[in-house]
C-alpha cells in the first residue's frame, strides 16, 4: 500500500510543480508576482529553480499567455499563472483564437503543450472582479482541455498530467481549496483526464459537482444520510474531456440528476450535462433534472450577499429532497 501524507491544496499544486520541474528541464513557470505569490503557491520555487525557470512578469496577461504559446510551439512546456481566473478575460484572445486553434489551423503542424493555472472562485469578499468561476465558458471553445480538481489528491495528480500531455490545458484551482487538507501519496502519480471520479456511492440521486462544490455536496450527503437518503456524487475531474459515460451510468442507476456549480447557473457546466442526459438518458429519468449554481448576478462584495448567492449543503440537501418528494 502506498504511503500517504496529509497536505493542503496549495502544497499539492506546489509539489506537482516542483516534481515536474525536477523531472523535465523544459518545464518552466511564468506569471505575475511568482516570487511573493498572492496565494503562496510558488513561494520558494525561485530559490530552487532560479529566475530563468521561475519568471516574474509585468502585469501583461496577453504577453504572458502569448509567450507561453510561443515557447510551447518551440520545445518548452510552460506553466503560466494568471493571478485570478477573472483576469483570463484579459487574455481571452490568445487563449481562444491562438492557443485553442493553432494545431487545427496549421493542419496539425503546431503542438502546444502548455498549462494555464489560475485560482477561481469566491469566498474572500473579493468582489465582482476577483471571485469568478468562468470554467464553463471554456467548454464552448474546442481545443482547450479543462481540469477542475476538488481535492489535494486530484490537484496534484491532474496537474502532473496537464503538464505532461501535448494539448493546452486550463487548470482551475479554487481559492478555498488551497487551504483544505487531504491525503496524497508520497512520490509520483498521475490522474488521467476524461475519467470522472465517484466521490460517494449512492442509489437515490446523482449529484454532479465540481471544485469547491464537491465538498458542499459531500456535506449535504451526510445530512441526507441521516434521513436515509443515499446520494451518489460524481466529480467529472475534467470538463474537457467530459466523462459523460460515468455520469449517465450513475443516472441510469439513480434515475435523478442534480448538478451543482459555483459559476453562474445560466449557461453553466450543469447546462451541458443536463442537456446530454436529456438527449442520451431521458427515459431513465424519474424526476426533472435540477441545476444549482451561482445566482445570475455579478458577485457582491458584501459577505452576507456573497453567501446568499451560492449553493450550500442545505440548499443542496433540500433540492435532493424535492427531487425525491
Amino acid at each position: 500500500m502506498t504511503e500517504m501524507k496529509l497536505i493542503t491544496g496549495k502544497d499539492a499544486i506546489r509539489d506537482a510543480l516542483i516534481e515536474e520541474m525536477r523531472r523535465d528541464k523544459t518545464v518552466f513557470l511564468l506569471g505575475e508576482d511568482l516570487e511573493q505569490a498572492t496565494f503562496g503557491v510558488t513561494d520558494g520555487l525561485l530559490e530552487e529553480f532560479g529566475a530563468e525557470r521561475v519568471r516574474n512578469t509585468p502585469i501583461s496577461e496577453n504577453a504572458i499567455v502569448g509567450a507561453a504559446i510561443g515557447a510551447a510551439l518551440t520545445g518548452m512546456r510552460p506553466v503560466a499563472e494568471i493571478m485570478f481566473a477573472d483576469f483570463l478575460m484579459d487574455a481571452m484572445d490568445p487563449i481562444v483564437n491562438t492557443m485553442a486553434k493553432a494545431r487545427f489551423m496549421t493542419g496539425g503542424q503546431a503542438k502546444i503543450p502548455m498549462v494555464i493555472r489560475t485560482p477561481s472562485g469566491a469566498g474572500l469578499s473579493a468582489g465582482a472582479q476577483h471571485s469568478q468561476s468562468p470554467e464553463a465558458l471554456f467548454m464552448h471553445i474546442p481545443g482547450i482541455k479543462i481540469a477542475v480538481p476538488s481535492t489535494p489528491y486530484d490537484m496534484k495528480g491532474l496537474l502532473k498530467t496537464a503538464i505532461r500531455i501535448d494539448d493546452p490545458v486550463l487548470f482551475f484551482e479554487h481559492k478555498m481549496l488551497y487551504y483544505e487538507g487531504g491525503e496524497v501519496p508520497v512520490g509520483d502519480y498521475t490522474i488521467p483526464f476524461g475519467k470522472a471520479d465517484v466521490k460517494r456511492k449512492g442509489k437515490d440521486v446523482t449529484i454532479v459537482a465540481v471544485l469547491a462544490m464537491v465538498k458542499k455536496a459531500m456535506m449535504a450527503a451526510d445530512i441526507l444520510a441521516n434521513e436515509g437518503i443515499e446520494v451518489e456524487i460524481v466529480d467529472p475531474m475534467t470538463l474537457n474531456p467530459l466523462d459523460m459515460e460515468t455520469i449517465i451510468n450513475s443516472v441510469k442507476k439513480t434515475k435523478r440528476l442534480l448538478t451543482v456549480e459555483e459559476g453562474a447557473r445560466t449557461g453553466g457546466i450543469g447546462a451541458e450535462i443536463a442537456a446530454r442526459v436529456a438527449e442520451d438518458a431521458l427515459d431513465y429519468l424519474d424526476a426533472p433534472v435540477k441545476r444549482l449554481g451561482g445566482s445570475d448576478t455579478p458577485i457582491p462584495f458584501s459577505p452576507v450577499l456573497e453567501e446568499a448567492m451560492y449553493p450550500t449543503e442545505d440548499t443542496i440537501a433540500n433540492a435532493v429532497k424535492q427531487m425525491l418528494g
Binding site: T38, G127, P300, F301
Partner: protein, 318 residues
C-alpha cells in the same frame, strides 16, 4: 496663493491619511472584509490633482482608490460604510474597496482590473468633447498598469482624438510585489508619452504644490482642446500592497526613510508654517475636525445595516 486654498489642500491630505489609517485599524479589528489597498503616502498626488479641476469634472480610479475619491469630494462616512459592507455605503456594500465610487461627485468608478479604468476614462472625455461641456477627465493609474495593453490603446486613442483628459501615473515604485526595475526597463514612465506624441512630465508626487502646478497646466491644455498629457508623479505607498502584505520585496529601512523624510503631509505642514506663515493654531482645528469626522464615519458605518440577502439580484439590469 490664498491661505484658505492652501489649508484646503492640507485638509484633504490629512483627511485621506486619517481615513486610511483608520481603515487599517478597522480591518485589523475584523470590521472590514476583503482586500484593502491603502494610499497612505500618496496623498499629495490625489489632493494636488483634484485641486486643479472642477466639481463637475470627472476622475477615473483604481483598486487603490480611497485617496482619489476623497480628494474629488467623496464623503468619508459613506466610504467607511462601503468598506464595512453596509447598505448605506456608496455602492450599497456591493463594491467594497476595489470598486468604491460616488458618481455624483464625478468619480466614474474604481476598477479592480489593472488599467481597465484607463480605457473607460477616455469615454468620459469623449462625451465631454461631443457634448461640448468643457469638462475634463483625470485618469489615475499605477506604474504597473502602464505595462498593460489597455494603457497603450487608451493613450494612443486619446492623443489621436485629442481628448480632454489628463493621465496621472501614481508611480509608487512597485506593482504589487514587483519593483519597477523588474517590470519595465524604462526609468521614467513619462517617456512613454513620446509613443503618442503627447507631453510627458515627471513631478515629485510628495510635493502637493508641485503636483497642483503641473496639473493646472495639463488640465488647461485639455480643457482648451489642446489634447491630453501624461503626468508621472513619483510617490510611495507607506503600507503593503494590501493589508496583510508580507512585503518581502522591500526593506523596513526603505519604508521608514520615506515615512520620515518624504511624508507629503509632514513636508507640506512644514512648508505652511515656514514659507506661508501659517500658524499652528490655524492647522489644529482642521486636524481636530477631521479626527472627529472619521470617528463619526466609523460610527455611521458600524451602526448601518448589512444588505438584505433578498436584494441580491437588484441592479443587474436597469
Amino acid at each position: 496663493m490664498e491661505k484658505s486654498f492652501l489649508l484646503g489642500l492640507y485638509e484633504t491630505m490629512f483627511r485621506i491619511r486619517t481615513f486610511e489609517e483608520e481603515v487599517k485599524r478597522q480591518f485589523e479589528d475584523g470590521n472590514i472584509p476583503g482586500f484593502i489597498h491603502l494610499a497612505s503616502g500618496q496623498e499629495a498626488v490625489s489632493a494636488g490633482a483634484c485641486a486643479a479641476i472642477n466639481k463637475d469634472d470627472y476622475i477615473g480610479s483604481t483598486h487603490r482608490g480611497h485617496a482619489n475619491l476623497i480628494a474629488k469630494g467623496g464623503r468619508t462616512d459613506r466610504m467607511m460604510a462601503e468598506l464595512f459592507a453596509r447598505e448605506t455605503g456608496y455602492c450599497k456594500g456591493r463594491g467594497g474597496c476595489l470598486h468604491i465610487t460616488d458618481m455624483s461627485v464625478g468619480s466614474l468608478g474604481a476598477n479592480g482590473i489593472v488599467a481597465a479604468g484607463i480605457i473607460v476614462t477616455n469615454g468620459a472625455a469623449l462625451s465631454s468633447k461631443l457634448l461640448k461641456n468643457k469638462k475634463v477627465t483625470l485618469s489615475f493609474f499605477g506604474d504597473g498598469a502602464t505595462n498593460q495593453g489597455k494603457f497603450h490603446e487608451a493613450m494612443n486613442l486619446a492623443s489621436l482624438w485629442s481628448l480632454p483628459i489628463v493621465f496621472i501615473c501614481e508611480n509608487n515604485l512597485y506593482g504589487e510585489a514587483t519593483p519597477q526595475a523588474k517590470h519595465m526597463k524604462t526609468k521614467d514612465i513619462a517617456v512613454r508619452a513620446k509613443a503618442y506624441d503627447m507631453p510627458g512630465i515627471v513631478v515629485d508626487g510628495q510635493d502637493v504644490l508641485k503636483v497642483y502646478e503641473v496639473m493646472t497646466d495639463a488640465v488647461k491644455m485639455a480643457r482648451d482642446g489642446k489634447g491630453p498629457s501624461l503626468i508621472e508623479a513619483k510617490t510611495y505607498r507607506f503600507h503593503g500592497h494590501h493589508i496583510g502584505d508580507p512585503e518581502t520585496y522591500r526593506t523596513r529601512e526603505e519604508v521608514e526613510e520615506w515615512m520620515e523624510k518624504r511624508d507629503p503631509i509632514k513636508l507640506f505642514k512644514a512648508k505652511l508654517l515656514k514659507d506661508f506663515k501659517v500658524s499652528g493654531s490655524e492647522i489644529d482645528p482642521i486636524e481636530t475636525k477631521i479626527l472627529k469626522e472619521i470617528e463619526n464615519a466609523v460610527r455611521f458605518a458600524s451602526e448601518s445595516p448589512a444588505p438584505d440577502p433578498a436584494t441580491l439580484t437588484q441592479n443587474v439590469y436597469a
